[in-house]
Amino acid sequence: MSTEVKAKKRSIKLTLPEDEIMCPGHLACQGCGATIAMRYALKALGPKTITAIPACCWAVIDGPFPYSAASIPVYHCAFETAASTASGISHGLSSLGKTDVTTLAWAGDGGTFDIGIQALSGAAERGDNMIYVVYDNEAYMNTGIQRSSSTPHGAWTTTTPVKHYKKGPKKNIMEIMVAHHIPYCATANIAFPEDFVKKLQKAKTMKGMKFIHLYAPCPTGWKHPPRNTVKIARLATETNVFPIYEVENGVYKINKRIKTPKPVSEYLKLQGRFRHLTADVIDFIQQGVNDRLTRIEKLEQAFGANSQDSPTS
């Protein structure tokens, strides 16, 4: 039996770093996408990483004083200060000559799209040296599922009840960050860990602000069984609800091209937060998804590696 396992193990080709830096014993809900996210992120970045975590689910997930599941230095900071605190950490380290440590700002969509956007914009414009990951669960989950500016059209939250469900698309944080001319902006999805890990490893080698918009489902807030977290995440990309692409020094690249996209209804129907949606609203959502993908494809055509007006210089 044991030799069989050994034999098997030898034959497995690992596509992710084997080290487990994050410990078990964290406080996340079952099936939490944000927790899967941190496990992969630490595998990618390694133990020489310091993270700033503002108020968000992760402020709780890491554990109460005196516990910590992350196994790297964690600096809990005020809700709107992930980027500004990380700026301080980054400058503090470099002022002391410590150049081999990665500074990671790790915030939710609320802390990024809403209350922390000023600090993020400031740090990006200054080119402060950090990797900023927003794990996007499309609402304020820590405080009980209130809408954020990342909540998509049609979604139920506790502040957008079914009768007044969220109207209007989520804020396009990628375009906002691309507009800051930072070296690296990328989307990633916990359902595609190899892509996420590769992007973090690439970001780690670059100087300045590197921004990763990470898709991370929340079973509690989205009203789906914990076992569906990865399935829903994968569907988000397979339906083009959440395209995977990157913008490196202004050059657009779609990293996952979906040959035959599934209809958004397949993604929506697995989640209680969309249960109330009628066919016409679903059509409207499908239209929005198509339009946003077309826009990214056009940007790639215009500013991709093969385009003539590629803004690399």
Partner: protein, 384 residues
């Protein structure tokens, strides 16, 4: 080395002398020249520090918090609206036990827009756990910035400090300031080397979710640190005197020993009061001044001792706690709770209105002739 400097330059040179590693600040009148001169000092390589030119005061303090947590020595400066914008992080810095030094140019709060002296901005940060002090002149600004690093970084304190100077009366007024020499400064202030910091070789979580089981003791320890600071401020003030020839304490008594009437104040008004006292003494009024340097920790015992001989005590506040009285008056009243000394609470100079020696003589006249009163507004006009 002696130079003629404004209060703002004295503050900037204080941070430079302390060899801070990271500066993060945002401009606001009348603090702006602090930011400008430090930008130049860093750009010229006179100070080997990183200056993070943030997009707000809120980020300035968040940045100092992050940097200080890595073991860097930090400095920031602001005024009124900027200080108010920082408020959440002012609590944060103290609870995180980070000895950040911040200079605040005391300026009135809007509306209406006012850029002139008023201490309501800093007084509003009273209960954040910061050490809080007020300067009377530019030498004191320079000396206090330097001393504050030593006081705040003391292992038994580990609290941030807010150093206040009056808008324009100090920030933009030139005085002679002795900047000493570098060797003696280095002898006085050693490198910042905190026991606990963000360190990948010794990873910890800082500021995590804290249950009622632990939070209470953290608060207790902050109070304990404030009380420890009373001793440390005195020790550092003495040591400073030995090296540089100027000794400091939490309070400063001026002609109080035989005084029948004592005026208590802070900041530049204390300086004006000293001048007024000299004049009044010449005409036979036996009056003295107790200048309070430290608002937090509050020097309760020193105040009791200093005010004990007085037959009457008047407190001059350039701030008001609406619906109550002057904030320093409140402190003095509670400090003297067990004494029967009649107390006079004067409000003066809000929003930068001038407080002259004549105004102070007027206050003493009230103390001599009128019954004690908690709240006396000096010079209010046209308010019907």
């Amino acid at each position: 080395m002696k130079k003629v400097l404004t209060g703002n330059f004295a503050a900037a040179y204080g941070a430079t002398a302390a060899k801070v590693n990271v500066i993060s600040a945002y401009p606001i009148t009348p603090q702006t020249t602090i930011v400008e001169i430090l930008s130049e000092i860093v750009a010229d390589g006179e100070l080997n520090a990183e200056f993070v030119k943030v997009e707000s005061e809120h980020s300035a303090l968040a940045c100092c918090i992050g940097a200080q947590a890595t073991g860097a020595r930090t400095f920031t400066a602001t005024s009124s609206q900027g200080l108010a914008l920082m408020h959440e992080l002012i609590h944060w810095a103290a609870r995180a036990r980070l000895p950040i030094i911040m200079v605040n140019v005391n300026r009135a709060m809007a509306p209406g827009w006012s850029i002139w002296a008023d201490a309501t901005d800093s007084i509003s940060q009273r209960d954040t756990g910061w050490i809080q002090m007020y300067c009377e002149n530019n030498q004191e600004v320079f000396d206090t910035v330097l001393m504050s690093y030593k006081i705040s970084e003391s292992e038994s304190v580990m609290l941030p400090a807010l150093i206040n100077l009056d808008a324009f009366f100090l920030s933009h007024t030139s005085q002679v300031v002795d900047l000493y020499n570098e060797a003696r400064i280095d002898q006085f202030l050693s490198k910042y080397d905190p026991k606990i910091k963000l360190d990948v070789d010794d990873p910890h979580a800082f500021g995590a979710l804290t249950s009622p089981e632990h939070y209470y003791e953290f608060s207790y320890k902050m109070h304990e640190a404030q009380i420890n600071a009373i001793r440390v401020i005195k020790e550092v003030g003495q040591e400073f005197g030995k090296i540089f020839g100027r000794t400091y304490d939490l309070t400063e008594s001026y002609r109080c020993d035989d005084a029948e009437l004592i005026l208590v104040s802070y900041g530049t008004i204390a300086g004006t009061a000293k001048e007024a006292v000299d004049q009044m003494r010449n005409s036979g009024i036996v009056v003295g001044v107790l200048k309070i340097r430290y608002f937090r920790p509050f020097p309760t015992e020193d105040v009791i001792k200093a005010l004990h001989p007085a037959k009457k005590v008047g407190v001059i506040d350039r701030a008001v706690s609406y619906g109550q009285s002057g904030p320093f008056f409140n402190e003095i009243r509670s400090t003297l709770y067990h004494e029967s000394t009649p107390l006079y609470g004067f409000i003066a100079g809000l929003g930068g209105r001038d407080v002259s020696t004549h105004d102070i003589e007027n206050m003493v006249d009230i103390m001599q002739n009128d019954p004690a009163q908690d709240l006396i507004w000096i010079g209010v006009k046209n308010v019907d």
